[in-house]
Amino acid sequence: MLNTRDLEKRWLRYKIKFYIPHFTIFISVIVISVVILTFFNSDKKETKELPQKVNKIPIETQTDKEVTIKTPKVALIKESIEVKTIDYKETPVASPKIQEKEPSNTEDNSLKLAPSLDFMKSMQHSTLPYYNEEPAIAHEKVSVIVEEVQELEPVEVIQAEVFKDEIKQISIKRRDSSNDIRDIIKRFKKNNNPALSLFVAKKYYELGEYHKAYNYALITNQIDRDIDASWIIFAKSLVKLNQKTMAIETLKQHIDNSHSSSAKILLDEIVSGKFK
């Protein structure tokens, strides 16, 4: 009779032997496929990362541009919010300390809606060691610049003096805006960047402080005579200051030099009386 136990053992050994190559092939196939997959995945990641890195450079440069370009937009948005909120009638020169505190409250109220101008503050901090003067002094320096302008163009200076009382009466609706303007003025004093003075001019114009807007537009024009927007603000401020004829003459001169279409449109609007 056959020894079935021994035969079963031999059969088991045979099966193990039989499946070992299959098992090793299976395992090796899995290992190879995993290696290949990981290899290809890593390749894909690298290829994906490369364009991102390349794109990063333009993005950064764009953000830099946004800082300079978008600031007026931010200010505009803020202004639109400001109109809806509290209407202060205080001069920025009179109570600078309060200006620092109260905007925080308003910022809290409109935190969700208003874009942050923190980058301005950070820039302010960086300039603080160089400019430790109080806001009042800064204001004095603004007037110095105005005086310098007066020396250059006497007619305009007279006009500025005519509206001196009105300047005192003009109030900034939002103190945070005035703070921003002060910060920008500080920066402007440091680097004489016409973009900053133009921004201040626009900001003052939007706030209804046409005299200041006029002055800063004039300063901008002196630094760089080719900035179309500055001339337009200058002319608009003149119109608002009831100097329509002067605005028209200035615009005409500017159009002769630059052939600006936007200046032409504004001139037409002023002449026709659409812009008052």
Binding site: L2, T4, L7, W11, Y14, K17
Partner: protein, 270 residues
């Protein structure tokens, strides 16, 4: 199923050449009929060749049984290698001439010429590849006289193709090749063999899957199949005697048992 069924089934596959165990398969039947028809023709020599275990000996045995009743047939299952002994055996069996001492080809031819026979006797020589070339040449000369008709079986091996030899190529008028069974033929072969011995239950245990497994191991070779199935039923008998049949099942032949049989018979080198 009792153990006697497994014992009976085992005995069915005993490796013996018995014409009674001959299994009628379609292809084999056609070949067999062709062989029978060839014997009736005035051919000098008929060659039956194939690989070992393809049923050549069984064919020859079956032919002997079928022809012996109608004509004079002599079968030599084991080759007579000595030349003198070969002639003496033929002289005694065919011509009923007992010869003492050495008998050479010339003396034998004298006996052939002296005795006149009513019909041409048929001599069946199995395992003819074992005969020497000289003796095979004498057999050819003898067949040329048309006094004796020879049917010889040969192993067709890869190393030595005996049919290519000159004395077979030029003298043989009819050659029939036997091949291994196909899967279908193997299933019929197994089941017919078992059913012949009234082992119907064990015959039903061979499904297509199990037959396919057997075919893979034996390549359709009848001898290997017989050996494998003999061992298989031997294992079944052992399990039955140890009361372990429930562990292997009796509805079909599991692959495990077929593989175990193959290991035991050496078809699998474990």
């Amino acid at each position: 199923m009792s153990s006697s069924i497994y014992v009976n089934s085992k005995n069915v596959f005993l490796d013996t050449v018995n014409s009674k165990d001959y299994v009628q398969l379609d292809r084999v039947s056609t070949i067999y009929q062709a062989l029978k028809d060839s014997i009736k023709k005035p051919l000098k020599m008929i060659l039956l060749y194939g690989k070992p275990g393809t049923g050549k000996s069984m064919f020859l045995s079956k032919l002997y049984n079928d022809l012996s009743s109608s004509q004079e047939v002599h079968i030599y299952k084991t080759p007579i290698l000595d030349e003198s002994e070969f002639y003496k055996t033929l002289a005694q069996d065919i011509f009923t001439t007992k010869y003492n001492g050495e008998l050479n080809f010339t003396q034998f031819m004298k006996i052939v010429d002296s005795v006149s026979l009513d019909s041409i006797p048929v001599v069946l020589l199995d395992e003819a590849q074992l005969y020497s070339d000289v003796l095979m040449e004498k057999i050819r000369l003898l067949s040329d006289t048309r006094t004796i008709k020879f049917v010889i079986t040969l192993h067709k091996t890869e190393e030595e193709d005996l049919i290519a030899k000159e004395h077979f190529q030029t003298r043989i008028w009819e050659s029939i090749e036997l091949e291994n069974a196909s899967t279908t033929e193997l299933k019929i072969y197994i089941q017919k063999k078992l059913m012949k011995a009234n082992c119907f239950d064990t015959a039903n245990m061979f499904t297509n899957k199990s037959v396919h497994k057997i075919f893979k191991l034996t390549n359709g070779n009848y001898r290997d199949t017989n050996k494998l199935l003999y061992t298989l039923f031997d294992i079944y008998t052992a399990y039955d005697e140890n009361h372990q049949l429930s562990s292997i099942g009796t509805t079909h032949v599991p692959d495990k048992l077929i593989e175990m049989s193959a290991i035991h018979t050496g078809l699998i080198n474990a």
